[in-house]
Amino acid sequence: MNYIWKEWKESIRSKGLWLSLAIMIIVSLLMLSRSSGHGVEQGYYILIMNLFESLLYFIPILCLFLGAFSVFQEKEQKTLVMLLTKQESTFTFLFKKSIALQTVLIVPVFIWFFLYLVPLKFFFQVQLTDYGFLLATIIGLMLVFTQLGVLIGSYSRSRMQIAGIAVIIWFYFFFLHDFALLSVLPNITHDNVQLFSVAYFLNPIQTVRMFLESGLGIYSFGNMSRLLESFMWLTPSLFFLFNLLFWLILSFAGAVLFHRKEGFE
């Protein structure tokens, strides 16, 4: 609780959180006005998909930077070294810091999307389950990319390094991962399709997209070819859950293992 309290006070008094929240609010209000002309039922799904597509580009890079700078500031301000010489180990510090950071970033976004339901009710026929899928994807993306940000902050020794690594990671998940998979696509057979599926669903961007679109009923998994059946060897919800766990654990472990203290190594 001590870390959450500290992180909250720091966040509400600095611009980062408010600016990010303001952008999310503006984007979601603009999407609302754009989709309101499509009718009460169809417009609702158009809004959810448009909102997802817009936030998909914005949330990862934002969370990467917020997570990384928050950890790096602890090095710059020498608070990290003061904490490590007392009760904390690198593991406990990063654990408490991650929990605090995730809470402080997710709670305001969650509150906004709860309030957002009010205007939605006026314009559309709201399906709460479908809205829940959207919220889950947003929170999932925030969790994964904030934790990756913590890894970057823990490893980096300068702000330039943070900027470089964050942009590379963002670029990788948005473009390079798909390019790599496309290049092996002609060689996919029934024997290796599960391996391809694992590689495909390692990308959180693709996993959340599949989770949301299948949740909204855009995709149907009723009549699949045998190859596609082997590709979808788990349900989208399970792929989403495992992807979340995989990246959270991997980036946290990486942050502990590759942690570099400032100035004396």
């Binding site: 001590n2 710059e76 020498k78 608070t79 003061m82 010489t85 007392k86």
Partner: protein
Amino acid sequence: MIEVTGLTQSFGKKNVLDDVSLTIEQKEVCALVGRNGAGKSTFINSLLGLLPIKTGKILIKGTEQRKSKNEIAYLPEKFMLYPTLTGYENMVFFAKAATGHAEETKMKEILTAVRLWDDKDIPIKGYSKGMLQRLGLAVTLYQDSDIIILDEPTSGIDPMGRKEILEILKGLKNKTILLSSHHLDEIKQLCTHVAYLDGGKITKYPVQQFIKLKHLGGMNT
């Protein structure tokens, strides 16, 4: 109280600390002196357990350094704490992080002692360098450790601010203090001993003997 035996720390092929041994007794105030790059930070970081010890042994109050983490309070050089939090909020956070709870009466006592009680509700980005240093000392003192390590506690502070810091440090009784410093007047006022670090080796002197040697030109600090 602090017993370092045969400590060697190297970066690449260079031995920054070469078979260093040093004992600091209880209630001693010892200055750690040496030129820039002599290995003062490496020595302090080894004492604090921030650097792994490859060769040698460090005993803090008779127990191995890695098991005695809470015995030492440390104030680094050029720290900033959390600029958007007030002085009081910084104290509360560090008190809870170090001891698990924050006692209001104790915090009031310490903040009054460092003359920051009246400014406790100002975000510390509005503090002067001297005020920030005093707050850092307050955070360190709250931890009630017998051993205090201070890295250049008056670095970059104006003469008035330095005087205030020195007054607070002089008032610390029953504490074992190791402070790194480049200021001879500060060492003269505060310290009982000087650990002089040069060429990877440490030699310990009573403060008067060190000052004599320094005046004879035998010490580069």
